[in-house]
């Protein structure tokens, strides 16, 4: 199955996604791969800066209530994202937030990561996603 591998950033696991702006431009975002962020039943898959959500002309979705490092109600947006190495485009539920982890562009949460096989697929210094086999 197609596989995408990224080097760790500051010792942390990351994934990269491409966003498509309303003007037709493409922007790459590096996100912390955080399996502890949210659950399989969360109403979001990614956290990105508010301005990224607006740049992509996103449709609004139901807000969610966050606790922990983020406190309060945050609106979700439907973004179209691409992972080129996996040859995959899809719509993703994304929360718009003011602040993201230092040195990164946002967080890929458990509901996003769970759509793939994930982990140190190519050794301890990298993190990867692999498309799941169809059932």
């Amino acid at each position: 199955m197609p596989r995408a591998i990224w080097a760790l950033v500051g010792g942390r696991p990351v994934v990269q996604v491409e966003l498509h702006t309303a003007e037709g431009r493409t922007a790459t975002r590096t996100l912390l791969a955080d399996t502890g962020a949210g659950t399989l039943r969360s109403g979001f898959e990614l956290l990105l800066r508010d301005e990224d959500c607006r740049l992509c002309g996103s449709r609004q979705m139901q807000s969610v209530c966050l606790r922990g490092a983020y406190e309060g109600e945050y609106w979700a947006y439907m973004l179209y994202v691409r992972i080129p190495m996996l040859g995959q485009n899809r719509y993703v539920r994304t929360l718009g937030v003011e602040n993201v982890p230092p040195g990164l562009d946002g967080i890929a949460c458990f509901r996003f990561l769970s759509q793939y096989a994930f982990g140190n697929l190519d050794g301890p210094n990298s993190f990867g996603l692999e498309r799941l086999s169809p059932k």
Binding site: S42, R59, Q60, A69, Y70, M78, R90, R93, V100, P102
Partner: protein, 86 residues
């Protein structure tokens, strides 16, 4: 003064909230487990997944800020925890 777009979005959100509450209290609701797109206060699309919903909504010639989408059947009031430092 409230802008027309905001009034539309308020209606969209209220309908989304009603649809979700109905599905949470009645699992046999026709919207339970579906992805619903709302346009100008009315249900416009009922889809089985987010990609199907996104494609259908993109085919509707309405500004995004007059639309609203919801995955029906989730408890949006339940706090979701994120611990990564920001």
């Amino acid at each position: 003064m409230t802008s027309p777009a905001k009034t539309i979005q308020d209606r969209n959100r209220e309908l989304a909230r009603q649809i979700n509450e109905e599905a949470l209290s009645n699992p046999s609701s026709p919207y339970a487990g579906k992805f619903v797109g709302i346009v100008r206060g009315q249900v416009a699309v009922v889809a089985n997944d987010l990609d199907e919903l996104g494609r259908a909504m993109d085919g509707i010639a309405v500004p995004p800020d007059e639309t609203f989408c919801i995955e029906v059947g989730l408890d949006y009031d339940e706090p979701q925890f994120i611990w990564s430092a920001k």
